[in-house]
Subunit: 196 residues, 2 copies
DNA sequence: GTCCTGCATTGACCTAGGTTAAGATCGTTC
DNA sequence: GAACGATCTTAACCTAGGTCAATGCAGGAC
């Protein structure tokens, strides 16, 4: 089984022992998703945590006016799941979609629990992921409360420089909480400040 | 030691065994904070997780124009900490302040790790807290992206009806991401819609 | 090639909410 | 009770960003 990307990540980044990594890789499936394919839809229960070996995922919601709102992007080496749904067993209100042809490793929620029970290193590893997630969400909220659109865009660029070229601009706008037109204007104003 | 509020919470809400609860209560201190007292300031490392036995805490940041932005409130039976700081060992950029005279139980970060290692029930308990936190943050982001101010206010009322009377209105406005004047207007418009 | 379809940009106009400044209403302190 | 500070409200005005509609470009698909 070609689980190399995931194995490499687990080996290099986490304090996991060989046995733990082996067990994790054994219990998780892998699947290719084509660009545009949907991994999770509203109304479904999210059964997996997705690890992105190759490609790019996004999570978004649809408001009552039919407008999309991007909650997260997940490029290579990121995990994505709807924890509201997978952990609490509720029906999700989000979409998760592949933005590129992607190689995804799927970890079932119950396996996570099993692994945590049996491997202390894995519990720690999971703990770290959760804290990382919380840190990101908290920073994002603080930015949404404190920063005007241009600041948020600048922060996005410096935090995710690679996404800038992989993701259409209107999705970045959506992530920032503004319209595509709004982002276009922000960019124009930034540019006009430079060619004096 | 009068740790009754915390003990009662742990006993009723979590799948913890007596030994685990005993251990947790033994290792955590408790302290009274007067209204207005600050538990954490920017630049400090957050050493504790705070459990609110009585009273009310808030976490907020200060932007470069000197404006406050409320990230969270924590009334009775809630936990509060700056996980960005306590878990990752960074200096905090937030304040945590008591909004009322409060009885707080303090759990040191290292004790949490110890407890997680030694008591599987506690690891699960902690895991649940983290997921809950993530759920809240995610819902808040989605609301900030999707909802106009009035919607956000209505959601706040239905989620935290008690805070409505315990927290000054300008702090609620700050939590919602608008100015006090803005919230005042929203309320007026809501009211005017009812006395036709 | 031509015809799509999706994305980015622009400009004119609009609106939700920010800003400023002035009261109104309090609970506190002396 | 007078004086004070904090909170909330109101009103006039302002601005960041939304809305709408038009235009310009790419790639594909054929």
């Amino acid at each position: 089984m070609n689980n190399l990307p995931f194995r490499a990540f687990l080996t290099s980044n986490m304090d996991l022992e060989k046995a733990e990594i082996k067990k994790l890789l054994e219990t998780c499936g892998q699947q290719e998703f084509a660009k545009g394919q949907v991994l999770l839809s509203p109304g479904q229960k999210c059964q997996h945590t997705f690890y992105v070996g190759k490609g790019l995922l996004r999570q978004y919601s649809l408001d009552n006016k039919g407008k999309e709102h991007v909650l997260q992007f997940a490029p290579e080496e990121w995990f994505m799941t709807d924890r509201e749904s997978s952990y609490f067993g509720q029906e999700s209100i989000y979409y998760i979609e592949a933005l590129e042809d992607s190689l995804i490793f799927l970890i079932e929620e119950q396996h996570i629990i099993q692994l945590m029970d049996n491997f202390p290193g894995f519990a720690e590893f999971n703990n770290k992921l959760l804290h990382n997630h919380i840190r990101h969400l908290q920073q994002r909220i603080n930015s949404l409360l404190s920063d005007p659109a241009e600041q948020r865009y600048l922060k996005f660029i410096s935090t995710y420089p690679d996404l800038l070229v992989r993701v259409p601009q209107w999705m970045i706008a959506s992530y920032l909480g503004i319209t595509p037109e709004g982002l276009s204007r922000v960019r124009r104003e930034m540019a006009s400040r430079y060619d004096h």
